[in-house]
Symmetry: C2
């Protein structure tokens, strides 16, 4: 009757809502009831379309992964003609954007950032498909900066330092916001943080 407007397929609707809920609440705290309510679908819809909660979550990951890798190509915004320092800057900047931007394109990054501290059964696959390649990419940049003679272990530790800084100010937001007496990050905050992490890390990588 009101069919002039083509309704969004229910599966897609659920996936989008579920992605937001999982990113907000984490896998465990997110409830099927909440997702269904926000989607305006019946409680049984998720089990009908996806089987169970876990398979919904896996489908959500696949769904947003597509959006993510299509917006952020695997190059991490890095040109091979860039200097190593430029490459690291771009890497850090891109890495932070991937879980900080508003909108759907950053949802995969948010879900991924959660897996670091609240792992689910999907972590094994996520590590091999995304996290390890990201670390390898970062490690290669670090090696360019530090020189080929740098031992693997040292490179690995430096990669941890960089990722650790980035994830801290996302995952430890409850503490950060209280310390600052200020809720949320402004765009200016994010720019400053990004710039700081780049500077701090570039200096940290200097060989002595």
């Amino acid at each position: 009757m009101n069919s002039k407007i083509k309704e969004k397929p229910k599966v897609e609707l659920i996936l989008e809502t579920a992605g937001e809920v999982f990113a907000e609440q984490g896998y465990n705290k997110a409830t099927i009831r909440d997702i269904c309510k926000r989607s305006g679908v019946n409680l049984a819809a998720i089990n009908y379309y996806f089987g169970d909660k876990e398979r919904l979550y896996l489908t959500v990951l696949k769904y947003y992964r597509e959006l993510a890798i299509q917006k952020y190509p695997l190059t991490f915004g890095i040109n091979e003609t860039d200097t190593p320092e430029e490459k690291l800057s771009n890497f850090i900047h891109t890495f932070i954007c991937r879980f900080l931007e508003e909108g759907k394109t950053a949802l995969f990054g948010k879900l991924l950032a959660r897996e670091f501290t609240e792992s689910t059964g999907a972590l094994d696959v996520l590590v091999e498909d995304f996290i390890r390649p990201t670390f390898i990419k970062l490690s290669s940049i670090i090696r360019e900066i530090m020189g080929n003679k740098s031992p693997d272990k040292k490179v690995e530790l430096c990669a941890m330092s960089i990722i650790g800084q980035c994830l801290y100010f996302r995952n430890a937001r409850p503490v950060v916001f209280r310390l600052r007496h200020k809720e949320g990050y402004t765009d200016k905050d994010i720019k400053e943080i990004t710039k700081h992490i780049i500077n701090f890390s570039l200096k940290g990588l200097v060989n002595n």
Copy 2:
């Protein structure tokens, strides 16, 4: 009858067990049933002695806080005669030990580290009583190294970078262990990590 051996008071027994369970599982995943089972007490004991789960958790925090501040004086192992760089080294070393050591003295640190990424209702108090003082202490050391002219914001960001590195390799263990194809940290690992974070951060703080 068998009263030659003085039994440990039940309240204390529950507190110790509960601390371990909360540190292992986090507040939400820890169940009263599990704590009671491990303590060998009846299911109703916790509500009888502590009222409810939340007040048990708060009491656990207070209990282990005592052990912690008595083992780790608020000085963070820092002598005022140390150089600023030595102070930072000692701070990072102490900070990491506080949530990595085995045994009961590190339990408060483990609970605190959890609050960064899985906050509970206790976070507000914990921030004011422990986390903020720790940041202030760290900030004062950073200021000594970077010079008095350094803007507050810059010092704050550097403190975040240092804490972020330390917490990463504790809270992101699921990912780290998979990346390394190795479960757990050896004492050697911990020493290397600590040494690395100290070096990386000292270089990051250098003014240019």
